[in-house]
Symmetry: C2
Subunit: 369 residues, 2 copies
């Protein structure tokens, strides 16, 4: 693969001092799995933190020895790419609550010796950012050159600039929103109900009963997936194409879009943990920095010192350009350094995963200026 970082390997760190969470609960010991690409320079000034979204993880770029598929942001991270590993030392952790190696619902609860499952405490974006700051300490990175993320990842980048204004030079807030709309919450709630009501969910203790709520997770992913794609992208990709030539007058998948969605749901339900999915959707629902300031988003942005780039995509209807503009307008009102780019892209919310030209140029010149 051209311009690929090539083979990568995850690293693991144990953070012994633990973390008091926003809910009041405590995680006494935290394991974080992460990957890093590129080289940290001598004055430690070229580190870029990547924050993943709902179903993402630490494997942002490069490939593993035994897998063909590259990391989820490989299109953007690598030598000469938007986030240029010839210039930057790029770090991407799997967040706590995740299911790919960091402490989360599938981990053993040290206090009980059992799998956490539903007992894993509720997490917020603030908790994640604090935990990532502990990783920064471990890596001896006093100040990130940039924190960058798309969707829920963009919310973390924004929260970084609020919580640790001295530790972040730039924030790339991509395809995000200052808080979820009622419609966003509604879609998340359908996903949660699909999982919670799957008989194999077993009140969250499915792992210890050797079960997985696959049907629920599959449905959750299917409904989520619809919101990731633009109507235009779906039309161009599938339209009303039939799998067979004629209508079957039955309930097997007969339109291409049906089998695509079923396939997406099937694959996801094999790979992801249901309790983690529940947790991630709640973290999205809870994100609302203005809430501590009587709804005044500009006031919430008051501590920010970083330069902020807000990017949105024309066909994104999950977090539309208007939602990004809410962030931009509040940053302007708070007199912060902000620039805004709306990228024309047909891929809907998923646009942040594709290396469209205007997107790559906008992001790289922001990071390299």
């Amino acid at each position: 693969m051209s311009n690929s970082i090539g083979l990568v390997e995850p690293k693991k760190v144990t953070l012994d001092k633990g973390l008091r969470l926003e809910s009041g609960k405590e995680l006494k010991k935290i394991e974080l799995i992460y990957e890093s690409y590129g080289t940290l320079n001598e004055d430690l000034s070229n580190a870029v933190l990547i924050c993943h979204a709902l179903s993402g993880n630490h494997h942002a770029a490069g490939i593993y020895e035994d897998e063909k598929r590259a990391g989820w942001w490989d299109a953007l991270i690598g030598p000469g790419k938007a986030i240029d590993t010839n210039k930057f030392y790029v770090v991407c952790p799997n967040n706590i609550g995740g299911c790919h190696g960091s402490t989360g619902p599938t981990s053993i609860n040290q206090e009980t010796g059992e799998i956490y499952g539903p007992d894993f405490p509720m997490i917020t974006v603030k908790d994640w950012v604090k935990c990532q700051s502990m990783l920064s300490d471990h890596l001896k990175i006093k100040k990130w050159h940039a924190v960058v993320g798309g969707s829920l990842g963009g919310m973390q980048a924004l929260e970084w600039s609020r919580l640790f204004p001295k530790r972040i030079e730039k924030a790339g807030v991509i395809a995000a929103a200052p808080k979820l709309s009622a419609q966003n919450i509604a879609f998340n709630e359908v996903a949660r109900q699909a999982i919670l009501n799957d008989p194999d969910f077993e009140e969250g203790r499915y792992l210890s009963k050797n079960k997985t709520p696959k049907q629920g997770l599959r449905l959750a992913r299917m409904v989520g997936h619809i919101t990731y794609l633009s109507e235009e992208a779906m039309r161009n990709k599938f339209g009303r194409e039939l799998k067979e030539e004629k209508l079957s007058f039955g309930f097997d998948a007969e339109f291409e879009i049906e089998s695509y969605l079923r396939h997406q749901g099937d694959v996801f339900s094999e790979q992801f943990d249901a309790n983690t999915y529940l947790l991630m959707t709640k973290i999205l629902d809870y994100f609302d920095p203005a809430n501590e300031h009587e709804g005044d988003l500009a006031a919430a942005f008051n501590p920010i010192e970083a330069q902020i780039l807000v990017m949105s995509f024309s066909t994104d209807w999950r977090f539309s350009p208007d939602r990004s503009k809410e962030i931009v307008n509040a940053l302007i009102k708070a007199k912060k350094k902000v620039s805004y780019i709306e990228v024309n892209s047909p891929h809907g919310h998923d646009s942040f995963l594709f290396a469209d030209d205007a997107y790559v140029k906008g992001l790289s010149s922001f990071l390299e200026s």
Copy 2:
């Protein structure tokens, strides 16, 4: 209730000659339940047929003796209302495949003596319209003054004008589309998968096992409901309001929108039949009059003689105004009598159920001109 028709009672008719369906299968005997309001005039020229949508039925207006809630289109049908029962004789049948009294999956299959369940044949909009024409014969109505419907009901009104050009004076095609988009089909598919994978679905034979796939039906309704409301309506109605003052950091419904959706799903899952829901979503997916004409919608409209009013609603994102305009443009291309009104309404797709002024005036002047 002012301007209400008052007490109404359903009637039932048995159509003995049966119907050969588009799928090739046959329904040998059909029972149709319907309601009628107002008085048929002497020259039988004031009859208006109402076609219901996905979850609708024959109870379009007025109230039953033992129920408080009026029919689903009571806001539009009644003395002095948009569809004025002082002027028109209004008929609304429950379509075949339904679950409120007409022959459908909950009926007894005369050939086997068992409940149809999943053996009920697949139906199309064309089948419905043919069946409604048999009801017209029974009622001795040679020509409808108008056939009117919203959403899937609007598709039936359009199909009436194509299939029986001599039997329909006017067609009111409200909040409809000439065919479903890939995104529309995707949402329907999620709803179907929710039902089909509910363990209580029992391959469609739940009734004979004294079960109902309530969780599946509930999820199907929840996801459907999101597409019926506009984002604006959700924001105005629920925003991010919490049920309690503080976040619970748990998975009980804590945002108002969550409990609203759960409630809608619960109520629906008590009242509707899962096999019927599956059938209705497929009828929507299959509707595509242009398909028989190599995608040429204007050619499909060639037989039409009726005056057609197409209406859409500004905040409808299920079948947006652009989809209505596809119908209008094809009708213009086919040189048909068409008028178009886009109504400003905040209610999303559900706008067709609310008696907004511009909507009422547009519809009543079309029917009465």
